[in-house]
Subunit: 508 residues, 2 copies
């Protein structure tokens, strides 16, 4: 147990926020909006704001332009992000989806198929099979309330199986339909079907208002619009509002200590005291912080066991949008065909007309291709694109990629998910403020020397009662959202919710 | 990125070992045995040695005696622990199993059944059902090599399903047989069937030489013997051999930094330099250490996503072994019956004849009962025992328990397990030494400012080649064992293996 530091010589803050991604910056903005007197400090491990959004300047047909190497799309039902876009006076532009789309499912040497509507022309049998599955999933997800998935009558059953098990039990056409499910899971989560709880899959669809809005790029879907100039602007503009002086970059939080009056947050080289703390970083990073008293064990289990997805995202700029000229939309769905790592691609031409494609290497393929060299990956991607779109795909201006598993203080993208059993046992702790001193009593009791085991349990009980009201750690981040969990909109919702929780407890 | 410390003013060690449990102390002992000149330092977060073994003095019929609140049993096929017991001149005594055994499976109000052989008298149908399952599992586990489970021809299939899915697909009798599987899983891992990969279940059985040796307390099984005087003696005696001055207690490792010549290990208040480091703590605690350069992302995923089981173990001392007098062995198997948290119990009478019972609250029940008060748990346990063994069970001398989820620098017991998909994607990193400077190249490349994205990849490739030989972090702990993974014997095997790895690289 560390000595609780002397607070007198320390700067006092009302709220310290861990993480300067969308959740953290939204929370800070919400607090300052409610009361400009609030002293809010944001601590960020990275040397930039934006978390899992990052906008880069790349060489383009007409000089240089901006593209998103992280989160980029928004949809019309994503109210929280749309409101923020409006508040920050940014613009959205529609995702280009006109023209022929390609897919190749069913193994490395399956033939390429194309379609123009939003329904792919799989074989009739596969199509029926897949459609029945989509209907079934959509019916089931309506039974899963995003706030409390355990209220679903079949929650225990669905949380006891992987998405793979559900797929095997419900899809009969061997290759195409099953491959379609695999690609959907990889694309949505950066995680394979076999790693994910089926109940979590339903919860995720439920938080998005359906399964189709997650997958498609049409109206009402998650990939409907993109933000002109890039999504990282949201964070940059929020940071300006909060005041750059209140955001410390390159400041990894290593400790969160509580006593009955305050919280102390430590980084490698500084210590801050505050009334409440909001932890917004992804669970696997929150698990790296040393908490004293330790978190309740159910919260620890949750924090420690939500695997993060794996995306390698690439942007390729071109002199012309040759695919549009050929009548193609730029959309490709693919599952490890031609020994190419492509999972899915979209048109990414900028608002000023600089042609580009965007795409992802996801989940198991990302794990494998992450180990290869940059040149090997680039060649793999370009070779795949040439097969689908023609030889012009090789005549690019710049190929840029971001392997999110290698990004310091992210370690993965797009979202941390839940494995079987997690919802059943640990979901109630996802948003519950923590750091109860209940635990101190308990830990001390158990770490006493042998003779203490003879003590009556009276002391222990007294501590339980005396300390249990101090829950000064609040949780945000897109993983904790009930609307569009896993998306920018969810991150923003979670930041507002956490700020409101804090506001109920303190005044500056 | 932290500044690499100046090593000149720092004590130099050959090897630093993280964790003074059986794995860490065995590794230290092995190194010093091979060459007494070796400078080995063991750093331990707890204020004691022994890790997941702990022996306490409790009030007993004849004064005071010793009991194990952590790992306690050994079996005749557990060569590594038996050899250490011999080397340390300790004794083993057989587990008492004579007499009637009780079980209550099939729901809270099922009737109590009893049996005397090792085969419980379930209904004939349930018995056949369960026996077929055991045969099937035992046949399947033979196909899973403990060193490389992915070599099993059906590895992908089995790693895509939970144990619960396998159970549902292979057991038809509703209550008894399924409940028996549930109790087996809870008792073995402190984890529920729905949380575990079926391939991991097979791997675990394979590492133990079969499923029955895991479950039973008969000859050849894991619960055949106990160590006279308690299992923590193994660690205490090893610590004496290594030299207490070379073990620092209450020293939580917070950082492991590497450069091309050495490793630096930091605790809250000290810094140590060495040639190699062996990390022996459970994966979820290894995940809390800050590594620079960061670990390869596959190793990170493994470290971050192996949930630890949850045991609350209790020892109850009695004036007489009343159960023996009644012809009972003291063995009870139970799955949440009578609203009692009992999972399983055994006779725990000491070698000097002090009567006691030992038992466990496991997995989901442990999660739930962990939240109650000490008194509530005690009453729940005693009430359950009274129902099985008679009113004498209430006339105990002392009830002592240890909730391993609350134990600092353990956070759970008996073992960290693998969820679906983990073996498929991450198992090759379980024992692979890490900290490759390959990663530094990679990370630096990716964390460069925007302009660096225009750089040719030549620099990057050069770094890859130049740095890739420095894997100075070695992994031990029972989770990494190939024989009796999850047991004391596995911890010892892993310590010897890691020490031998290190010996191949350095001389004092």
């Amino acid at each position: 147990v560390l000595t609780f530091p002397n607070l007198e010589r320390m700067a006092q803050w009302d709220v310290v926020i861990v993480g300067a991604g969308l959740a953290g910056l939204t929370a800070a903005n919400q607090l300052v909006k409610k009361n400009p007197e609030f002293k809010v400090l944001v601590l960020e491990g990275k040397d930039r704001v934006g978390g899992r959004t990052v906008t880069l300047s790349l060489k383009a047909a007409n000089g240089v332009d901006q593209w998103d190497l992280g989160g980029q799309w928004v949809g019309r039902t994503q109210h929280h992000v749309l409101e923020l876009i409006k508040e920050l006076e940014l613009e959205i532009i529609p995702q280009y989806t006109t023209g022929t789309k390609f897919y190749q499912l069913g193994g490395a040497h399956a033939k390429i198929s194309s379609y123009s509507s939003s329904i792919p022309t799989l074989s009739l049998l596969a199509l029926i099979d897949l459609q029945l599955l989509l209907w079934k999933v959509d019916k089931l997800r309506k039974m899963v309330p995003p706030e409390n998935p355990n209220a679903c009558p079949q929650a225990l059953k669905f949380d006891s199986m992987t998405v793979e098990t559900f797929k095997q039990n419900n899809l009969w056409t061997q290759k195409s339909a099953k491959d379609a499910m695999d690609v959907a899971c990889k694309s949505l989560f950066g995680i394979e079907c076999r790693q994910l709880s089926f109940l979590y899959f339903l919860l995720y669809a439920s938080a998005a208002g359906g399964l189709m809005p997650l997958i498609e790029a049409t109206k009402w879907s998650a990939q409907e619009y993109k933000i002109k100039g890039g999504a990282q602007q949201l964070s940059e503009l929020l940071a300006d509002r909060i005041g750059r002086g209140n955001i410390l970059l390159s400041s990894r939080v290593s400790h969160i200590l509580q006593n009955k009056d305050s919280v102390v947050v430590r980084t490698e080289d500084a210590t801050f005291s505050c009334k409440r703390v909001i932890v917004t970083c992804p669970p696997h990073l929150a698990a790296k912080i040393h908490y004293e008293p330790s978190l309740p064990s159910k919260r620890e289990s949750l924090t420690q066991n939500m695997p993060v997805g794996h995306y390698i995202k690439f942007i390729i700029t071109y002199p012309t949008a040759f695919w549009r000229e050929k009548g193609y939309s730029g959309e490709i769905v693919c599952n490890g065909c031609f020994d190419s790592p492509l999972s899915f691609t979209f048109d990414a031409t900028s608002s000023t007309g600089n042609p580009a494609l965007v795409g992802f290497i996801a989940a198991g393929q990302a794990l494998e291709w992450s180990q290869k060299t940059f040149e090997e990956r680039k060649d793999g991607v370009i070779n795949g694109l040439v097969k689908f779109l023609g030889p012009e795909a090789a005549a690019y201006i710049q190929y840029t990629e971001k392997d999110w598993s290698q990004e310091p203080y992210s370690g993965g993208c797009p979202v941390n998910v839940m494995v079987p059993g997690m919802i059943t046992y640990f979901h109630p702790y996802l948003r519950k403020p923590c750091g109860s001193f209940k635990n101190i009593g308990f830990n001390r009791f158990l770490s006493f020397k042998r003779r203490e085991y003879f003590l009556s349990s009276l002391t222990f009980k007294f501590q339980l009662i005396h300390f249990q009201d101090y829950n000064r750690i609040h949780w945000a981040g897109t993983e904790t959202a009930t609307a569009w969990c896993g998306y920018m909109s969810g991150a923003i919702q979670s930041g507002i919710r956490a700020a409101n929780e804090v506001l109920r407890h303190i005044n500056p």
